[in-house]
Symmetry: C2
């Protein structure tokens, strides 16, 4: 059984990006530049955005953090998006979600220029990815695909079961894994209304769990020798930890891991890959803009 080490893979990719950026800057060009827009004081969002800024530093990128109180109006936020769209010094930017209730998240997402939409949430990017055209692919599915590739896990013709049909993981993951140029797999998408869910999981060569239900995947749901990718990161109370909680994946790791040929742990599996993929998308946006 092999542990798929997302933390080490992400560090490796960030080092590769840093080397490429150093090469670009040494040639006299400016560095890639990511901007992040943060509204309000949600603890999780503040942590995510801080980690994105730190990742920019690690990769040799410029970064700009724009912080606003949650009293900002939708119109004011749309103006911020418009300015970032039109700022030639910014290659890509993200608006950290969730936004306050009085702001229409979809409207803001669709206001971002697709060429700068490094989160890959704009319908143009979702649609282009789906039909196999070049597009920004959102961080979590791209991170999973990259882990499978870097660990040389065969996907062509294999049966991939995806637990969950969210817009940010399940659906794009299915879209990628079925396409010839990415997974070329036989893809099954399972969800809360699926009949025979356990049996479907048991048939999978690769099982990707993304439902946000702690330890949902038990040993009887996994085929011996399967590859298991755990996207879940639920905070569960843990009195033994200083912060009072620990991160629990969608997979019962202790019971399932002995059965697997390979498995991602939580934490340290898919999680560390996501910010790293955002950096990769920013570098791609930069290259497209600079026509490198």
């Amino acid at each position: 059984m092999q542990i798929i080490d997302g933390k080490a893979t992400a560090a490796q990719i960030k080092a590769e990006i840093k080397a490429e950026v150093e090469h670009i800057v040494a040639s006299g060009a400016r560095a890639p530049h990511l901007a992040a827009v943060l509204v309000g004081h949600d603890g999780g969002s503040e942590t995510y955005v801080r980690n994105k800024v730190l990742a920019c530093e690690a990769c040799g990128f410029e970064s700009t953090l724009l912080k606003f109180e949650d009293t900002i109006t939708e119109e004011e936020l749309l103006n911020v998006v418009d300015q970032l769209n039109n700022n030639p010094a910014i290659d890509g930017f993200i608006v950290q979600l969730p936004l306050p209730k009085h702001i229409d998240e979809q409207k803001v997402t669709e206001a971002i220029l697709p060429e700068k939409d490094v989160d890959g949430f704009h319908p143009v990017n979702v649609g282009r990815m789906s039909i196999g055209l070049p597009a920004f692919i959102s961080a979590t599915p791209l991170g999973i695909l990259t882990l499978l590739q870097r660990y040389n896990i065969p996907t062509k013709g294999k049966k991939v079961a995806i637990l969950g049909r969210s817009n940010i993981v399940g659906k794009p993951m299915a879209s990628l894994m079925m396409q010839k140029q990415y997974g070329d797999s036989t893809v099954t998408v399972l969800h809360s209304h699926s009949e025979n869910l356990a049996e479907e999981c048991r048939q999978a060569d690769i099982l990707i769990a993304a439902i946000g239900s702690p330890a949902f995947v038990t040993a009887d749901m996994v085929k011996p020798g399967a590859v298991v990718i755990d996207v879940g990161t639920t905070r569960v109370p843990d009195a033994t930890r200083a912060n009072g909680f620990r991160l629990q994946g969608d997979v019962d790791f202790n019971a399932v891991s002995p059965l697997c040929s390979a498995i991602t742990p939580v934490p340290g599996g898919v999680g560390p890959m996501t910010i790293c993929m955002l950096m990769l998308n920013t570098l791609q946006a930069y290259k497209q803009f600079a026509k490198l």
Copy 2:
């Protein structure tokens, strides 16, 4: 075993559209207006476009057919698209594919205003549909969904196997059937590289064949009691016909139909629904434009 009669269903829906348009026009508003752009003299394309114009008449729509020689340049065609985008008298339009090789089909498709893209091929519509937002859904998948609904075929939690992963049928069909608001099914997408393809098909409650391979689906690939939807329409030589060919579906109808609880024939199944769905999309575009 029930024959799913696409011809009768399409006629019924067109009659419903016609009644609604008569009601609209009686209230003093103008009728919906579809334009079709035809380039060159491809026999299939000329037939399709003629049938679309006839369907407009049957539904009480205005229609405009713009015909160009295949010497038209890409720039000239993009100008035509631009004029249709900006013409307030046109609610929706299609550019009949395929286009001559010197014209970039994707560029033309993306030049169409998404609000007038009644074929549903623009990435914005593909992306919006994928993430569950209102969008124009392309004609063939929408036609299949409508047949399943009108024949009261249960889809929630059921296993749907889709043979084929094309951009115009397999992929959007998978996207629709997995979503709670449409099929709410467990969806598996199969293709030429799938291992255990026959066994996967045999597990399906609903089997949708869209690979363009005549009589590919044989009796041993179908679970007794399954619903079979045949999207294939391959011309195979037939000396007994005046035109020298007949349309053959992806399913071996004579062998498979006795096993099914319901099945679409070819012709007369999915085929007649597609133009009918284009009419429905045009009516929707009209209503959105007129804010009805």
